[in-house]
Each structure stands twice: as C-alpha cells, then as structure tokens.
C-alpha cells in the first residue's frame, strides 16, 4: 500500500442556510499521486477542498495531513498544503514578485529568492515580476495564483478547476508543471467537471455528485466504467417497439420511434455494432443517418447514483 498523505474521514458540511453540501465523505490520498475529483457543478468539490485547507469549517469529521489533524494541529497541516482557488482572487495593487514573496512568508518560510525565481520562470512570469497584477490578463493572474500556491514548497497542491476559462498555452504549461511537480514528489489533487481532463491527468479519480463521493478508482478501471457510448440510428420508417429478437443488444426507441439507440461499451473487444447492423439489414429496417456519442457526464452520474440506490 502506498503511504497516505491525506486522510479524510466522515467529513460532512451543512451550510448555515441548512443546505447539506457534503454527506460524510471518506477519502485517502496517496503520497505523490495525481488525484482528480470529478463531478458536475455544485457537487461539493470546492466545499471539500475548502474544508481540507481550513477555509470552511466542517460540520463533522476529521482530516489528517501527513498525520497532523487539520483542526487541532492546523499549523503543521497547512504548512504542507498549497491551494489554487477556483476564483481569481489576488491583490490587484501588488506586483507579481511582491505577492508571491508574501505568500511564501505567510506560510512561515524565509524569503528564498532563488526558489521564487524558479517558480516564476516555470510559469513564464519572470518577465512580469515587477508588473502590477491589475495590469495582467486573466490567464496571467491564474499563473500568479499558481505561483503563490507553490511559493512555500507545499507537499500537497490543490488545483480547483484549474482549466476553467484558461487558454491553450496555459493549459499546456500547467500540465507540464503538474508533471514536473509530481516527479519531485508533490501530491496533486485537482477538481474538474470534464471527464477528458481527469482521464488525461490523473492516476486515480474520485467521482462526486450531490455531496457524495460515489466511487474512487484507478483511472483505467474507471474509464472502463465510464466508457459507455451511444449509437443513434435515424430510421427511415418509425417503429412502434423494439423488434422482438433483438434483446441481445441494449436498444431503446427515441423521438416517437424515429431513433433507435444502442448503448455499448467502447472498451469491449466486441462492441456488437457490426452484428447489429447486419441483423437490421436482414430485417429490412433501413436508416438514413447514424451517429455515436459518449454518454454525457450527467448520464454517467445518474447511472452511478442509480447503481448505488
């Protein structure tokens, strides 16, 4: 078993208004891994991260960061954590260098100019070090936030929706940086609502929806579970019902019988598509168009929730 660096046990959160954003979440993060927390908007990703980082008070539960309780031994816990928030909250009147140096000191470290220079260079910010933050573009501001989070050399880095509203160049730089950090042993936890992003980046993925962590799995295993696709055939003549004898395939009718949908698993060796098409031809069921699509994240969540229920 790899060493756990973060252990979340029974953490729940009910906000003041009475809304429960998290229902008893248990999660263990291993040292050095890249973990993606995948879930739609409002699932509770930011709430969970904010609780771990000390910004939101949990209603119940405990959090251990490298063995230090995040509530009672918060200094030892927080020194190890860096957070890049979802919102672009950064001091507009400060210069890049000043605000990054501030972050390093705030987290209890003496100003180490060589390290800060390295971080700024890694994020293509060095040339802008004396610029006021308000003069920077949105993408540049996000880079500054990343630099601030890394300034105190954290062991765990949280990236909350790191690619939301981010240009291609920054995305590429960010993934490069993430991999470089991982090579140095930094543990990375990111949130996203894109399956592709989780797939591209993470070693393990946790799926969260409506405040519940539905499953946590290795990426490969999860992608198989999430690898469902749909084949939609637009029929020439509408059907009243799925023809008898085609039960072997998971079929359904949509659009008043004009669309025949086949749900299949793209990762299976045999998708069953050629045989289905042959069978339809034999029965003289003609179609004028065909289209495949990935199940949407929403569909997958619904499936997962139903499986659980």
């Amino acid at each position: 078993m790899p060493e756990p660096i973060l252990a979340v046990t029974g953490v729940s959160k009910t906000y003041k208004g009475g809304f429960t954003a998290l229902h008893s979440v248990d999660l263990t993060i291993h040292k050095g891994e890249i973990f993606a927390l995948l879930g739609p908007n409002g699932a509770g990703k930011t709430t969970l991260i904010s609780i771990i980082c000390g910004i939101v008070t949990p209603s119940t539960g405990t959090i251990l960061v490298a063995g230090h309780d995040a509530l009672t031994d918060y200094k030892a816990a927080r020194r190890r954590i860096g957070l890049v928030p979802q919102e672009l909250s950064v001091d507009m009147f400060e210069t890049v260098l000043a605000t990054v140096t501030f972050s390093r000191r705030l987290f209890g470290r003496s100003g180490d100019s060589a390290y800060i220079e390295q971080v700024l260079r890694d994020l293509s910010l060095w040339d802008k070090r004396d610029a006021k933050i308000m003069e920077l573009s949105g993408g540049m501001k996000r880079r500054v936030l990343i630099a601030k989070a890394l300034a105190h050399e954290p062991e765990i880095l949280f990236l909350d929706e790191p690619t939301a509203g981010v240009d291609v160049a920054l995305r590429r730089d960010m993934w490069k940086l993430v991999h470089r950090l991982r090579e140095r042993g930094t543990t990375i936890i990111l949130t996203t609502h894109y399956i592709e992003e989780a797939e591209e980046m993470a070693d393990r993925v946790g799926v969260i929806s409506k405040g519940r962590l539905l499953l946590v799995d290795d990426k490969a295993a999860l992608m198989q579970k999430l690898g469902k696709r749909e084949l939609d055939l637009t029929l020439v003549d509408p059907l009243d019902a799925v023809p008898v004898g085609l039960e072997r395939w998971r079929l359904s009718l949509l659009n008043e019988g004009r669309t025949l949908r086949y749900v299949f698993d793209a990762t299976d060796e045999h998708t069953g598509i050629p045989s289905l098409l042959r069978e339809l031809a034999d029965r003289h069921i003609a179609f004028k168009d065909l289209e495949t699509s990935k199940s949407s994240l929403e569909d997958i969540f619904v499936d997962l929730v139903e499986e659980r229920a």
């Binding site: 003041k16 000390g54 939101v56 200094k75 928030p85 909250s89 000191r105 003496s110």
Partner: protein, 253 residues
C-alpha cells in the same frame, strides 16, 4: 510561532499605507491645522485659559486623540475588510497563521501608522501653539495603548462589516460623536450636570483626560482610572477577537 507570517502581513499593510502616504498624511495634518486656526486662533483668543493652560495648547491632546481614533479604526478596519471583499482572505485562512498572529500583523501595522500620525500632528501643533510635555513616558504610553486599542476595535469592525457603507457608518455614528463629546475641546468640568455624569460613560473621556494629564499634569479624571479604562477597553477588544476566531464568525462558512 510564525514570525515570517506576522512580518509578511505587517509589511504588506505598511506597504499599502505607503502607497497612499499622501492621502493618509495630508488629510489629518490639514484638518488639524484648520482646527488650530478656528479654535486656537479665532475662537481661542477670546477664551479663558483652562486650568492655567491657554486654550490653544489645551486642545492639542484632544486633537491628537481625535485623529488617532479615527485613523486607527479606519486603517485597521479596511485592512481586514478588503481581503474579505476581494476574496483574497482565502489565503489568510488557509495559512499556518494563528488568529493572534494575524491580529499582531494587522493591528500592529494599523497602530504603527496611527502613532506616526499622532507624532506628526504633535509636530504640526508646535507650529501654532507652545507645547510642553510634562510626562513624555506617559504620553508615549497613552499614544501606543490608544492606537492599539482602537486598531483592535477597527479590526473587529472590519470583520463585522458586510459592506463599505457599514464600514464608514460606525466611525461616523460612534467614533466621531464620542470623541467630540469626550472632552477633546473642553474640560468636562465645564459641563453642567447631568452631562458631566453622562460623560463619564464615554470611554474617550478617559483617553483624552489621561493623554492631557501627560501633557499638563492635570486631567478630568485620575490618571490611574484613565489608564485602567484604556487597558480595559483594549482587553475587551482582544476578548471579542478571540471569540470571533473561535467561532469563525463572518470569516468562515
């Protein structure tokens, strides 16, 4: 103890003040000069000496207190309110900084600025009226204690406030009347009853009185009482701040 953290906050706050150095100095210095021209020169020349001190000199401690209180409350409240407003407070909340370290950084910076300002106003006053300080040690102590106490109060205000209106409202509605009625421009002995007794419920009376004692050796109330009330106010503010952080009130969800 996270000394680097305290220092970072202190420097950040001082740098913020330096960026607006001119506004923060010119305003109070100009106001003070106006007070001297009006109260010290125009009206004061027709007023009797109070307790053997010319009226112009008599109002110096009160004038300094007036600026000290307004500036301490204003600086400390905006210092903590602004991160709440812009969202940058997330970094402070997620940092390995204890509530008291946070307070030392923010309140320390606000109080430093107030003390410097107080001394500048004192120097400005010297242009208008003769000034002698009988108990310099006590004067510096009152300057420090008052700056710290009211910066703590401002810090609480900044955490409490949900809007810029609220942030300006309290100083306007509470601090300004209390200072004007706190004997800045008169000795409360000059007041008729029952106002003299009512004044004794105004904490500013004790600050001004103590401060004035350090200049002239005479105040409205006993110096020990002045010191006690000032310290009491300071401790009360500290206690409130401790409570706020324990509950996360208006800082954390």
């Amino acid at each position: 103890m996270n000394l680097h953290g305290i220092w970072a906050i202190y420097r950040f706050e001082m740098a913020r003040s330096l960026r607006t150095l001119w506004q923060s100095l010119v305003g109070p210095v100009l106001t003070t000069s106006l007070y001297f021209i009006v109260f010290g020169g125009a009206i004061g020349s027709r007023m009797q000496a109070v307790d053997g001190v010319s009226y112009g000199s008599f109002i110096v401690p009160g004038l300094i207190m007036l600026s000290l209180l307004t500036q301490s409350v204003g600086n400390a409240s905006i210092g903590i309110y602004f991160p709440k407003f812009t969202g940058t407070i997330f970094e402070l909340l997620s940092a390995p900084v204890s509530p008291m370290e946070l307070v030392v950084g923010y309140v320390g910076a606000a109080a430093t600025k107030s003390v410097v300002l107080g001394l500048i106003i004192l120097a400005t006053s010297a242009f208008f009226v003769p000034i002698s300080v009988l108990h310099p040690g006590a004067m510096v102590a009152f300057l420090l204690l008052t700056s710290i106490a009211f910066s703590l109060f401002g810090f609480i205000l900044g955490i409490w406030a949900k809007s810029f209106e609220q942030l300006n409202f309290v100083p306007m509605l509470l601090i300004t009347p209390l200072t004007f009625l706190g004997g800045s421009f008169y000795s409360i002995d000059m007041l008729p009853q029952p106002w003299r007794t009512v004044s004794l419920f105004n904490p500013v009376v004790y600050l001004v009185s103590g401060f004035r004692w350090s200049f002239f050796g005479k105040g409205d109330v006993d110096i020990a009482v002045s010191l006690g009330v000032t310290l009491g106010f300071l401790v009360a503010c500290l206690a409130v701040i401790a409570l706020i952080f324990r509950s996360g009130w208006r800082l954390k969800n």
